[in-house]
Symmetry: C2
């Protein structure tokens, strides 16, 4: 595995003129790797000749008062895990390398960003689109891999790629969970022992909601999920919603997929989870 | 010359995997070609193996009440001129081909778009960045050619390419003028005979301003240019400004280039022109 820290090195190694037709699979991450990230690498290795992972805690997608400083980091451990998983090139740029200049151009997502995490994290998805357009242009990947845990991010990225003809294919990869159902997340280390024991209640609430689809109205399912989380955890529900997927609208027609999605604030961190499913049956599409 | 109307044909002909290392020079236009466009083609031919021109009157960059409908079009004549100039591929997509979907994601320019044309054409440069990001991703050019007549557009595009690592090099090409000094523009055909005879007064006003640089303050130069145009033409001055280039700020330091730029409204159309020069001497850099 080659560790790269500058754009120039990326170009030297991976410019399309030097690739000899080999395909690149790209796994953008913020590091503190867990099995969710490694499942992205595993899928990328299946599909491509070369796997590039980036590790960059992107300041542009954290708001004031959010956990940019507290976001967990362990580059040494990440390098060992990435190497073991078969990453060929690990790109770990500094903030200065990523953002040496700023002429003030912004990429604003549309209505998809007004709900769920976008409602309580203004500017978050601007920062996500900014760093991804840069990373896509730097790495020029044939395929890019995203976890379905960040379902809203994935929906917005798919729209960006579709509407602006970005030259990478977006591949959805199912959420990886702990044995008790908690979605793997770098932020899980910031839970206290008690919070960690309660946190599987988030996924249980989503499964509870899932069983109500087709029987109860969306607002009733949402209310039931909030009640479930409030009873089972000490966390504060940021949102619990049922929307169409991937357009994230309240208008759900019979043919659309739907997403049940929650965000819950604990003392030091905020966790998200979701289930994406067809409205036709109760089979989850996300796993 | 091959005429192409769909993105799929573009990919078939020009995908980087099928290029065998041949370089592509790209000339995006809105058609109704004149010598200014042909000078872009000529420069692109010098630098590249293949020249791609696009002709697309981009609705996204026209505001309500602007001249989208009146913008002159003559595809047959354009095809003959492009072929004669040596264009290899002419891309003439429909609006439906360019914008089949719209998830509401917008690209907003920064402060560079708050002055000059941006001040009186809100949303104009959003539309320019939108269509260019799409075209760059469709054509994947090594180099892209832009005329210095649209100096603000050029400055914003250079910032976009720099800050977002777009994979094309932007090449500046000097403004081409009629023998009487009027900048070549597709919009010149929408001038009445009298207006056409007055219109060279715009460039004369800029030259008048140019002679004052280093002697008078920017606001005095601006005032003099407005007076000059008001006396010499029946047009209405939209703006006449002296700014730093390419950051388009009022703060002009000794090392920066400056732009003298005007926009003048005539009965049926609005013309723009500029001179870009060093503050160190009175040599125009634009030509």
């Amino acid at each position: 595995m080659e560790v790269i820290t500058t754009r120039n090195e990326l170009i030297t190694h991976l410019d399309r003129n030097n690739r000899n037709g080999r395909s690149i699979g790209f796994v953008p991450t913020m590091g503190f790797l867990h099995e969710g990230h490694l499942s992205l690498v595993s899928k990328a290795k299946e599909d491509n000749d070369i796997v590039v992972m980036s590790i960059f805690v992107n300041p542009a997608q954290f708001g004031p008062g959010e956990d940019y400083e507290a976001y967990p980091r362990d580059l040494e451990r990440d390098m060992a895990l990435a190497k073991e998983a078969g990453v060929d090139f690990l790109f770990t740029p500094s903030a200065m390398e990523m953002y040496p200049t700023d002429g003030g151009i912004r990429i604003l997502p549309g209505r998809q960003a007004e709900v769920l995490c976008g409602a309580s994290r203004p500017g978050h998805f601007d920062g996500v689109l900014k760093v991804l357009l840069k990373l896509f242009n730097m790495v020029d990947p044939d395929r890019s891999y995203f976890g379905m845990k960040d379902a809203q991010q994935l929906a917005i990225i798919e729209t960006f790629v579709r509407d602006f003809n970005l030259r990478t294919e977006i591949v959805r990869v199912p959420t990886v969970r702990e044995s008790d159902g908690l979605a793997k997340s770098s932020r899980n280390v910031n839970l206290s022992a008690i919070e960690r024991s309660e946190a599987p209640g988030i996924y249980k609430a989503l499964q509870h909601g899932q069983r109500m689809v087709g029987i109860a109205a969306p607002h009733e399912i949402e209310k039931a999920m909030v009640e479930f989380i409030t009873q089972e955890t000490s966390g504060k529900v940021d949102y619990a919603n049922v929307l169409s997927y991937p357009n994230l609208s309240e208008a759900i027609d019979e043919d659309s997929e739907i997403i049940l999605a929650c965000a819950v604030k604990f003392s030091k961190t905020r966790l998200i989870d979701n289930i994406i499913m067809s409205t036709k049956d109760d089979t989850s599409c996300s796993e």
